[in-house]
Symmetry: D2
Subunit: 341 residues, 4 copies
């Protein structure tokens, strides 16, 4: 931490700051300039609040230097995290992995058809929501465990893996037999109790960025899961809220290369939620691959016009097939492949 | 709902839209202008997604007209909600109710001293966190139930009521004997499972606005609690995230009168989190009262410089006393009082 | 400036950074910790870009310490700036000064009536736009100089002062005979050429905060005017853009006390643009006074329903009168007065 | 326009709204539902303010239906706008056009070298600022006309075209002999007087999106230029402000396909300002091409570490060459080419 004192700071002010820094566990180096004193705190105390120093007498400003996350940082595992699944799919390697499927599980027929279409297009994961976070209590809230049974069966028939959202600690245990990846939605990115529990699970997790979260906050939330010992973690950019209302959210494509630099964790893009309208999903999907994504999470529905949720942003099956073909052509330009070589 | 068709929309496009509207339960009134057709959907289907229409062929735009919340709307209870507590305090009446105390429960001495100071200043509620949502897993996470025992004892000795944050469904039951109000924090505003459970509790709830939430989203989250049958609900503006970084958040003072218009629920302001630096808290507290708040939630600590969390935004006890005195003078100008007449 | 090097930074990296700092005019103090080197740059070079250091090899992060504005800083004139006008009105003193009037100058009758109503209510300035920045080229663009003639005449008859918006350098000269204060609108807050010219004028300026501007950016824009030698400058918070769409903008009431701390310049609030709907203007006006504003800028129209622009946010004359009366009662609570003692 | 009345609206309320609609030039169609009246205003009055209706008695909400821009809309020229330049370069056709060069013109040597490097890499335009909008009055403000002379000479020697920023009406005339495209910066996107003047010029303009502007606001600003008769207009996404501070701005890649749908004007991406750090520029450049951009505007400097402005986001010449090669491979996947076939 660094504390820059005001020009008019008294020696008493300076001593108060130094004392508090030492109390927290810092070694303090003092630089005395012509008009200003600067205090550099070296060391790495377990916790401190930089704002505390900002409001102390005589302080101009205070800066945290060490990043507040450790396990999520790229330097913890410079070569990057790879997660290998039972059907041989590797996330975090050369392949850009496609996860697709409907927003909600609605019926056995819908899911089996979806799974066949995803597999045919070259996808490796079937996505689908059995528990749905809906902003209105009057909207469809999901099928629950019976929905997951349907997903598991359809995925097994088509050699796909299952990813589905967990919203609540009490859902973890019952979901375990059915899913290959627990998805944590944007609204739960800072549900710290849920994150902590997922750190104790031995199953991969995909953590989505919150709509108003900074990249540092995403990494701090990742730290909760990693700190529990679960290192099979993926992150996902799925659009942030901005002033633009024509799109549902604004997909921060730059978050993909930035996260790839700052962390060793695989980074996905979700253009369906990112843009919210079907016709723009392919453009953002290709952009995500061009920007270095390790995978894409996309909504596709056998019949989007009849979907019980998010139909407007779900691709038609043919669109998915065509898009994956474009991705296959694009990936090698950035040193990757889609669907395995 | 209203659907405005494009100038070049074909009759087939128009019929598709009408069919889907009827299917959802709308009565459709068609207005045919010189260049444009407008379809007004009258009726109130339980659920529909306006985006679905926005992406249909030939559609220019679609608008939801009915507000998506019912029980939270002002028209449900035009006279406003009043909540009466066992010590006679009424929230939602003429009194602007003061809730104050430290961010975290740290010790018995700290809390008893805080309670005495809050009571002396004219506060009616003791606030304090036993479960703390912290963005870093390495920060102090709270004392849990022993902290609540301390709060209850201190509050009883000083004739105060207890408000404390609940973060997780599993905490509701154990907290019940100790709190008078469950506080739902900004990060949990869209933790819908938690909200639903709190709807089944027979104890008042104070729901804070999320840092990126619109006012409509706050009211939809309120609807989750009300729909469960718990009508003793208060809302709280506590600052939203903006581009300004000098303040911790930006307190949306206008949300106070806007909420007072749109809903019958009492509306609090939390200037401590709203601005995040002690020296600006009084200005925002007075502004909140001037703007019509039903109460204030503020952080005060017997010794802010030694606080385990949020010390930078906690008032000194003397500041609280002085501020409440200013509030007492100000409230009558807007037809209210502080501390009872 | 402070540069924190990465743990793995080489001595060559460190030397490159030191060389560049010295080249820019800094004296460099080096702190070598167990794992990390920190470089403190003391001195105050005329210009440098902190981002340049952030992308250098081996650098973890770089921080600007000195504030980039000088003349606008509170320490330049700790006692605060007072501006005295020819009718005796003082801005920046104990009085909270009221400026009111219609959005646009529409006719002689409208303006004369407005002026009488503003003066009767206790206002000191007549506001009104002769040049209008409109987001659509098809909207009413203002009356120009004839409008200013009308304002001047009406203001002189009622002992008011005139404030009106300047949008373009070429308008400064012709406006000079008519206005007492040049208003710079939010959209022109970073029209640096215009600001620079206004620095050479010997007439007070009121500078509005841009809708996405930080407080530091407001002060940097102020610096352009001050650097030209024009010290009669007022700032104005008028609402920033947030995700909330129910209000036109979100008035950042906290910007008022923050600016009062950071700068010596008088600070106004404009609740009309801040909230955009008439019914909420009084609440935000009172909140602004409670938060320490030196004055208010408000829209009032003799007949808002027929206004050519911004009718929805213009107060009725009676509302203004009533509001100023409330302000008169409120101001003494924060050590001020309205309308002179 | 559509006005939805409240359930409890009286007939007098309804008649007031109808009268005002008729007064503005609408034909009004009334739909009377069981509980609610809806008024559809057909016709296209030159100007009206939808907020005016939102605050009228008995009104629940009011919606503008017609888009407020006409000439900028895709339907005005469905086939898209193509701009042909004297060296044969066509913007808006199949080629994705590269514009590159330094942020600021610094010297003859720097610019000539830059031009050679841009031309060698496959660029068609030389960019460079002679007038610089800087947030601090103490930063380098540009070389002015002598800088433009240097650019013209270098561009002519290398068969490039010149694009440079205009900040002020008074600069238009002197710049005319030197530039092929006038660039309007983000801070001037709503400098309506400047836009209006550029509408009267017979030279292409590239208009950048403001950092907090919606897409509709960009199109309204475009309308100012088009309404003056200048149809040779390009738009440019260059990053918007969000809560993320690790990147300078957040490049809204989705704005590219959205603009391509809504308008006939060519759409550029500026990844240099979009992300602000050199290492991430290639990822965002490729993403922009993948998303359908008609061209890219990028900063490149012969020696970025010594640049007088924006060095941190300027590519090295070799990086530009490599990036353009990747773009050449990528473009055909989305039906385009780079550098001509």
């Amino acid at each position: 931490m660094i504390v820059a004192m005001q020009d008019q700071a008294t020696e008493a002010h300076i001593q108060s700051v130094i004392e508090r820094m030492v109390e927290l566990g810092f070694n303090v180096h003092r630089t005395t300039g012509a008009t200003q004193v600067i205090l550099a705190g070296v060391g790495n105390p377990a916790q401190f609040d930089v704002t505390e120093f900002q409001v102390m007498g005589g302080v101009q400003d205070a800066y945290r230097i060490s990043s507040p996350y450790k396990l999520a940082g790229r330097s913890f595992r410079p070569e990057g995290t790879k997660i290998t699944f039972r059907n041989g799919t590797v996330v975090g390697g050369e392949e850009v992995v496609v996860m697709a499927g409907p927003c909600s599980v609605e019926s056995k027929e819908q899911i089996l058809l979806s799974a066949q279409q995803v597999a045919a297009a070259g996808g490796k994961f079937l996505r689908g929501g059995a528990y749905k976070p809906r902003s209105s209590p009057y909207s469809f809230q999901g099928m629950g465990i019976p929905g997951l049974e349907i997903m598991r069966e359809a995925a097994d028939k088509t050699n796909l893996l299952v990813i589905s959202e967990v919203m609540e600690i009490s859902q973890i245990e019952p979901m375990l037999p059915y899913v290959d990846v627990f998805q944590v939605g944007a609204r739960n990115m800072q549900n710290f109790n849920l994150l902590r529990e997922l750190g104790h699970v031995r199953k991969p997790v995909l953590l989505k960025r919150g709509i108003a979260a900074t990249i540092e906050e995403v990494l701090l939330s990742a730290e909760y899961i990693l700190a529990g010992g679960n290192y099979d973690l993926m992150l996902c950019e799925r659009g942030i809220r901005t002033f633009e209302t024509y799109t549902r959210n604004t997909m921060d494509v730059s978050a993909i290369p930035v996260l790839k630099k700052l962390t060793h964790l695989p980074v996905f893009g979700d253009p369906s939620h990112g843009v919210g309208k079907r016709e723009f999903v392919p453009a953002l999907a290709l952009a995500s691959v061009a920007a270095g994504a390790d995978g894409l999470l996309m909504e596709m529905h056998p019949n989007p016009d009849k979907a019980m949720s998010d139909g407007a942003q779900s691709l038609f099956p043919d669109q998915l097939t065509q898009l994956v073909n474009q991705m296959k052509a694009l990936a090698p330009i950035v040193g990757r492949n889609v669907g395995g070589k």
